[in-house]
Symmetry: D3
Subunit: 163 residues, 6 copies
């Protein structure tokens, strides 16, 4: 089975920056599980199923074969990772503010399950400005989001903001 | 007509820190358009008209003649700037956290319209602690906000919190 | 009466990191007032009375005798401190993002009442990841929060998330 | 004569990131003076003349016509700017650490000469990792620096590290 | 004897920002010891005696009576504080970069002597740009440093840079 | 042979924080090469051989069997990694300032050799204040460094500062 890692996020929706991390983490681990983490106390733009499907389309379009996509609702990430026998949690860092928050989460996760390591990859410089929120804001204002999200998801996202 | 710059913000309400930037950017460009950007998905304290009027009063009280005040609702800032033939977008920086967010916005705006430059000015040290939220919080708790907002708007803002 | 300091916060609920600051600030000042600050415009998880009571239980369980617990609703912190004849406001710092926000608040408070000093203590490294939100998130997902909050409050907090 | 700005730096040597700022600032001002600032108390890799010449070559190779190159040794930047009747000092920002230092310098310069504004431009994301030191370190270790410095200066820099 | 605090630094030379902290910490503690810490492995501009004398002049000129000035050469700060029966070490914070370094030092000092607390005060906004290095750089370039250092030390510092 | 990673540093000397990263990275990869990187343009406290030996002692004392120790003098890290067929470069992050520098190095290394990934692990909170410089400063001032460096190296380091 080899070494497994989990890459969690809300992916609401997946951006080109997320996909960059998926490709690079996928090259390092035998199996990468992209995990759509649903927080029932927060509103989202896309449903869990839509988010999973968009990630699957992007992964499939790029011919990546060791990537699985799953979702979790209101469960502890480290418990999920334990269950999947994952050795590592993958997080992408873009900026100082990411760093602080992710540092806190890594420390708390290590406290909860010391045997699971949090591993950070740097987002490519060209995507350092990118977030799901910014993609949605531009789409809402009818700006051009091509290049900011995987090509196969472009229509799906734009359709959400048409009326 | 000369060189035009746009200084966007929510200005809910304009603070002495905003006004400091208006005065300094106004001295650098032939025309400065202060742009009240309305985001229909967020709640605001003052209406668009009230915000525009407060900026106009402050600009008029200080005898600044090359400042225009306008508003935009749910449109892309760079499209507005393009339409106004503005060469630059002005942003004020106060602290590291401003820097990160504004850096991201500058990169995304450059991607959308590379010909429009984002130009950053540092807020004066004496206003580095100031934001519209802090002004409103102090006014709500009946604290003294004189000096924190342009003098001509003082009554208008205090009135909002009286009952 | 000696020197008095006020340690304000929302304490929703008190964490082991807060309690670490209480113990250390209590050792430096003759009287330390832990002040539950209620902001009527924000939702909270625990009521003002529950928060005050949890702090009192923790203080009592550790035999600290120069700590008072009080609450304030929609009043200016510096006015409260003035009334209590406090010379200092205590704040705990964990990370860069705390620093920026607290720096702004210290500057505004100095402007409102220059005679009251804001004093910062560093949270112990082992609690640097800890916040009330993280405690609640873990409790909500049924994770183990022992060690993250004062032992005497453990049941009270867990009970809130059981159904 | 139009509006003049000064872009100071040690440019030891000029990188592609510096040149990106030169091009963009040159598009905003009528005249841009690129100023090689020599600090006699610090060691440098290239002589003042070599640094000026490399900038001139790069500017010439790109056909920029409103750029002047000058140098200053142990003089106050704001005095130079005043003498040149410059209205603005241009600085490029790459990262949070730049921001803090440049913020301090902008505040001190405003105190020395309030009529000269410091204007910040964001370095392009693709050059955010780039500095003169990193270029020199890679060249010293015989790595490939093409793309990191203006093409016309490539040989000159590599030659410095050959023996 | 009351509560004693130590305010350590290199004070090479004392700036108006340092003096601001001395005044404010002096108002909070019964005795404040300003400690010139000499690091024999680093070069300095002013001798230990000159630095001590400049602080004494400034303290005397402002009529502060509970301030002592001392120096230490190559000794651990916490050992000095212990010997003086000080309860607290005072540090001034200006910016995020100060914060990180001082946080590390506070943690290491707590490890060495847990009974001594490090207490942070925020430097006034108007001095947030100020450091001994910047004062010296401006003096070296013959700029005006009045207001940046205590008035009584002005001549002494300028004299150092005249020839 | 399995997956190989390289953990580079100056290790002058190895601290408990470094060793924490070695243990955790060693658990994730089949082989971890700890690489003492010598920069001939910088002075060091311990010789290359001493540094390598101290790491070997610490690794041996903890019974880690998949760790190799090597050194490189004035060579590009990515070239070494390529030669060793390493898939990843390991870096430990402690604080925001680490983050910025390491982000820049990761971007430049990706540019030089895109097939080698930089992987970041968070240093344990208890070691977040620790660096080789701080260890040496405390040892120089005759403070207690036990716990700050691997136990087996304690005497070696203390001996360096005795006379």
């Amino acid at each position: 089975m080899g070494m497994i890692a989990v890459y969690p996020g809300s992916f609401d929706p997946i951006t080109s920056g997320h996909f960059d991390i998926i490709e690079r983490a996928g090259a390092m681990f035998d199996t990468l599980v992209v995990l759509v983490a649903i927080n029932s106390t927060k509103e989202s733009t896309f449903s869990c199923d839509e988010r999973v499907e968009m990630i699957r389309h992007a992964v499939h379009a790029h011919g990546l074969t060791n990537i699985q996509v799953d979702s979790i609702s209101d469960g502890l990430l480290v418990d999920y990772a334990e269950q999947r026998k994952a050795k590592a949690i993958i997080k992408g860092l873009r900026a100082v503010s990411d760093f602080e928050y992710e540092f806190q989460m890594a420390l708390i996760n290590r406290r909860l399950r010391p045997e699971i390591e949090t591993v950070f990859l740097m987002t490519s410089a060209e995507y350092s400005f990118l977030s799901s929120s910014i993609v949605k804001e531009i789409a809402r204002l009818d700006g051009d989001i091509s290049g900011l999200v995987p090509q196969v998801n472009l229509r799906k996202i734009q359709a959400h903001y048409e009326s």
